[in-house]
C-alpha cells in the first residue's frame, strides 16, 4: 500500500515537532550547563534569582521557589518567582508561607499538589545538596501534564548546577573573609612593627606578608635559579615547607615526565636574563598533577644583583578543554577520510571549525588577559562569554549531525524479529559464504512480536552481523562460527543474541565501542554501533556487548515485546 500525500505531510510535521522539542530540551540543557560560568563571582542571592528566572521562563512554570541555607545550615534566604497568572491569585509572601510550612518535612512526604486560592497546582520539590543541606528548589505549574520527564530532568540538572554555583559562592565569601582577616592582621602587624623598628627590616617583612596573602603561587629565586622564597599559597598547594622548597627542593613538585624539559626551559630563561614562561605539571599536596603556566621576571636590586620573581597560573582546565577540542577535530578529520561521506563532512567540518576557531582564539586572549601584570578581569569575562556562545554554536552543529544519522522516517508496526532476521540473512548470505563464516540460527518458535520500525531494526541486525564478519576476517586458527539466536528473557523483553568467534574486545572497555566515531578499522566510520544503539533506545530497548569466555564477542539487543501489557502501556504513553 502506498502512503498518501496527506499521510506523508502529517508524518513530516510530526517529525518536525519532535525535532523542535528535542532541540529545545538540548538548548535548555546547554543553557543550564552554562549557568555556573555566568555565576562566577556572584553572591547567593544573585545566583538564586538568576536560577529561578531561567527555569520559570524555560519550563513555563507558574511559580518557582528557592530556600537556601548558609554554610552552617541556618536559613540564608527564600526567593519566589511567579508567573503573571500566579501573581494575581497569591502574593509571593503567601506562597512562601505555604511552602515554608512544608519545608520542615522531608521531600518524600511532600504533597504533589497544592491548592492556592482554589486553584490546583502540581508541584515538584528538588533537594540541593545530597541531603538538602544546601537548600530546596520547588517548581509548580497548573499544567495537568506537569512535571514531564524532560522537565524533571532539567529541574534536577538545574538544581545540581545551582549546588555547584552556590558552593563556589560560599567558597568565595569564605576566601574573602580569610583575605579580610589577613588584611586586618597585616595591618595590625605593620603597626606593631612600625613602633619597634622603622627601616629596612620592616619593608622586608611587609613584603613577605603581602606576598603570602596573595591568592596565587608566587616565588623568587637567586640569579642561578635556586629558590630563596616561596609564598604560603605555594607551600600549601604543593605541601612542602619553606625549608623543603628551598634551593632546588621545589622541583620535586614537578611531574617526573616534565622535569628535564622544565629544567631546560628554566636554564634557558636564566641564561637569557629576560622574562619568560613555560608550562609544566605540578603536584598538589594530595598527589594530583595539574598543568600550570610558569612565568618568571628578572629584577636587579640597587647593587645590580639579579633576582628572579615568578608566579604559576593554573591552566589545567583550559588545557584540557583545548585537548578535547583537538580530539573532537581529530574525530571530524577521521570522518572526512571516509570518502562516501567526504562531501557532507567537509561542510560539517567547516561549520564546526568556525566556532572552534573563535573558542581557541578567545581562550588564548582570556588567558593572556588574566596572566598580565594587571589582570583584565572584565575583558576576560567578555571573552569567556563569547566562548560559551561559540561552544553552543558548535553543540548545535553536532546535534544536527546526530539527528541526521538517526532520524529517518519511523513507522510503528508489529515486527516479527525471526522473519526480519531471515530476510537479512538472505541479503547477506553471499557475503557470509565469501567470508567463510559458518552461520548457526537458533530462532525461538514462540517469539512474541515487538512494536517498532522494521527497517530500522533490520539495519541494527545488519550492522551487528557485518561487525561480526569483520571481527572474524583474520581468524585462521579456529572455525568462524556465527550464532544468531532469539529468545524471551522473562521480563517482557525479546532478545536477539549475536555471538561471533572473532578478535573480541577488551572486556573493561565494552562501552567504548558504542562511542560515535570509535573504530579500529582502516575503512570504518565508527558510527554503526552508535546509530544502532540510538535506534534500539528509540524502541525503549537496550543494546550491549559482552566479551566471550572463549574467543570473540556477543552482542545483545533487548526490545520490549508488543504482546506484553506493561510494555504496550509504556509505548502508548510516549
Amino acid at each position: 500500500m502506498l502512503p498518501t500525500d496527506d499521510w506523508l505531510i502529517m508524518q513530516t510535521e510530526q517529525l518536525h515537532a519532535e525535532n523542535k522539542r528535542l532541540q529545545r530540551c538540548v538548548r535548555d540543557l546547554v543553557g543550564i550547563m552554562a549557568l555556573p560560568a555566568i555565576w562566577v563571582g556572584s553572591g547567593p542571592s544573585r545566583i538564586a534569582e538568576s536560577l529561578l528566572d531561567s527555569i520559570l521562563a524555560m519550563l513555563d512554570l507558574d511559580f518557582a521557589y528557592l530556600h537556601l541555607n548558609d554554610a552552617s545550615g541556618n536559613r540564608l534566604l527564600d526567593v519566589t518567582r511567579s508567573s503573571q497568572w500566579a501573581g494575581t491569585v497569591a502574593s509571593p509572601q503567601e506562597l512562601e508561607a505555604t511552602l515554608a510550612r512544608c519545608r520542615l518535612g522531608r521531600t518524600k512526604e511532600w504533597p504533589h499538589r497544592l491548592t492556592v486560592d482554589g486553584n490546583d497546582i502540581a508541584i515538584l520539590p528538588v533537594r540541593l545538596g545530597l541531603l538538602g543541606e544546601i537548600g530546596l528548589l520547588v517548581a509548580g505549574s497548573r499544567r495537568t501534564d506537569f512535571p514531564r520527564q524532560t522537565e524533571a530532568l532539567l529541574l534536577n540538572v538545574a538544581a545540581n548546577q545551582a549546588t555547584i554555583g552556590l558552593q563556589a559562592a560560599w567558597q568565595l565569601s569564605e576566601q574573602k573573609r580569610v583575605a579580610r582577616e589577613l588584611d586586618r592582621r597585616v595591618e595590625a602587624r605593620t603597626r606593631e612593627l612600625a613602633e619597634a623598628n622603622e627601616e629596612l627590616l620592616q619593608r622586608k617583612l611587609d613584603f613577605q606578608l603581602v606576598v603570602d596573602a596573595i591568592p596565587a603561587i608566587v616565588w623568587s629565586s637567586l640569579a642561578d635559579g635556586r629558590a630563596d622564597f616561596v609564598n604560603q599559597h605555594f607551600r600549601r598547594y604543593v605541601g612542602l615547607s619553606t625549608e623543603e622548597a628551598r634551593d632546588w627542593g621545589w622541583v620535586g613538585a614537578v611531574h617526573p615526565g616534565d622535569v628535564s624539559e622544565f629544567m631546560e626551559n628554566w636554564r634557558a630563561i636564566l641564561a637569557s636574563g629576560r622574562s619568560g614562561e613555560f608550562q609544566a605539571r605540578l603536584r598538589r599536596f594530595d598527589g594530583e598533577y595539574r598543568w600550570f603556566l610558569l612565568r618568571a621576571e628578572p629584577l636587579a636590586d640597587a647593587d645590580g644583583n639579579l633576582k628572579w620573581f615568578g608566579a604559576c597560573f593554573d591552566m589545567h582546565d583550559w588545557k584540557k578543554a583545548q585537548d578535547e577540542l583537538r580530539d573532537a577535530q581529530a574525530e571530524l578529520a577521521h570522518v572526512a577520510r571516509a570518502t562516501t561521506m567526504g562531501q557532507l563532512t567537509a561542510s560539517i567540518a567547516h561549520e564546526i571549525n568556525q566556532p572552534l576557531s573563535g573558542i581557541v582564539t578567545n581562550a588564548s586572549t582570556c588567558l593572556r588577559m588574566l596572566s598580565a601584570g594587571q589582570p583584565n578581569v572584565t575583558g576576560a569575562q567578555e571573552t569567556a562569554r563569547r566562548m560559551i556562545r561559540d561552544a553552543r554554536r558548535a553543540t548545535e552543529v553536532v546535534s544536527r549531525l546526530r539527528s541526521l544519522f538517526t532520524k529517518q522516517n519511523t513507522s510503528v508496526e508489529a515486527v516479527n524479529l525471526n522473519s526480519a532476521i531471515q530476510e537479512i540473512i538472505a541479503l547477506t548470505s553471499t557475503e557470509l559464504q565469501r567470508a567463510c563464516v559458518h552461520l548457526r540460527l537458533e530462532l525461538s518458535d514462540d517469539l512474541p512480536p515487538v512494536d517498532g520500525d522494521r527497517t530500522q531494526l533490520q539495519q541494527v541486525i545488519m550492522n551487528l552481523i557485518l561487525n561480526a564478519v569483520e571481527a572474524m576476517s583474520g581468524v585462521t586458527d579456529h572455525a568462524r562460527d556465527l550464532t544468531i539466536a532469539t529468545e524471551r528473557d522473562g521480563d517482557g523483553y525479546v532478545r536477539v543474541v549475536i555471538r561471533d568467534a572473532g578478535v573480541g574486545f577488551d572486556p573493561t572497555a565494552s562501552e567504548k565501542l558504542f562511542r560515535p566515531f570509535h573504530t579500529t578499522k582502516s575503512h570504518g566510520m565508527g558510527i554503526g554501533l552508535s546509530v544502532s544503539r540510538s535506534i534500539v533506545e528509540h524502541h525503549h530497548g537496550r543494546l550491549w556487548a559482552e566479551a566471550n569466555d572463549g574467543p570473540g564477542a556477543t552482542f545483545f539487543v533487548a526490545i520490549p515485546s508488543g504482546a506484553d501489557g506493561e510494555a504496550m502501556a509504556r509505548q502508548s504513553q510516549k
Partner: protein, 123 residues
C-alpha cells in the same frame, strides 16, 4: 615609544571577527575587524593597514579577489590568509601566490603570532 602596527582582520564570521582583533591587541598591535572585503576597501582609503588577516571564503568578494584588487591598485600589504575549509594543499598554493602564510582554523595563538611577525618583517 615605538608606533604599534595597524592590522586589519577581514572575515564574514562574527566569532572570528570579534575574537581575533582582541587577541592581536593582546599581542600589542592595533587591530580592527571588517565583515567584508568591500567594507575594508572603503576604510583603507582613510587609514591604511600595515598587515592584513584575510578569510578566503566570503560572500561577495573572496579573500583572493581582494588580494588581486589590492595588487591592481599597486597597494602592497603583507597578507596572512585564514580558512576553515583548508587542508595542506591550499596552504601550499596560497604561499606560492605570495601570501605570507595560510592558517587553518582553528589555529593556535603561537601560529598567529609567528605569522604576524613574518608578515610585518616583509612589509
Amino acid at each position: 615609544m615605538k608606533k604599534m602596527a595597524y592590522v586589519a582582520v577581514v572575515d564574514d564570521d562574527e566569532s572570528v571577527r570579534e575574537s581575533l582583533p582582541d587577541l592581536l591587541r593582546e599581542f600589542g598591535y592595533e587591530a580592527r575587524g571588517f565583515s567584508s572585503a568591500e567594507e575594508f576597501l572603503e576604510a583603507d582609503k582613510v587609514r591604511q593597514a600595515e598587515c592584513l588577516v584575510l578569510d578566503i571564503a566570503m560572500p561577495g568578494m573572496s579573500g583572493f579577489d581582494l588580494q588581486r584588487e589590492l595588487n591592481r591598485r599597486e597597494r602592497k600589504v603583507p597578507t596572512v590568509f585564514i580558512t576553515a575549509h583548508g587542508d595542506e594543499a591550499i596552504r601550499l598554493r596560497v604561499r606560492r601566490h605570495g601570501a605570507v602564510d595560510c592558517l587553518l582554523k582553528p589555529f593556535s595563538d603561537t601560529a598567529l603570532f609567528e605569522a604576524m611577525k613574518a608578515a610585518l618583517k616583509q612589509g
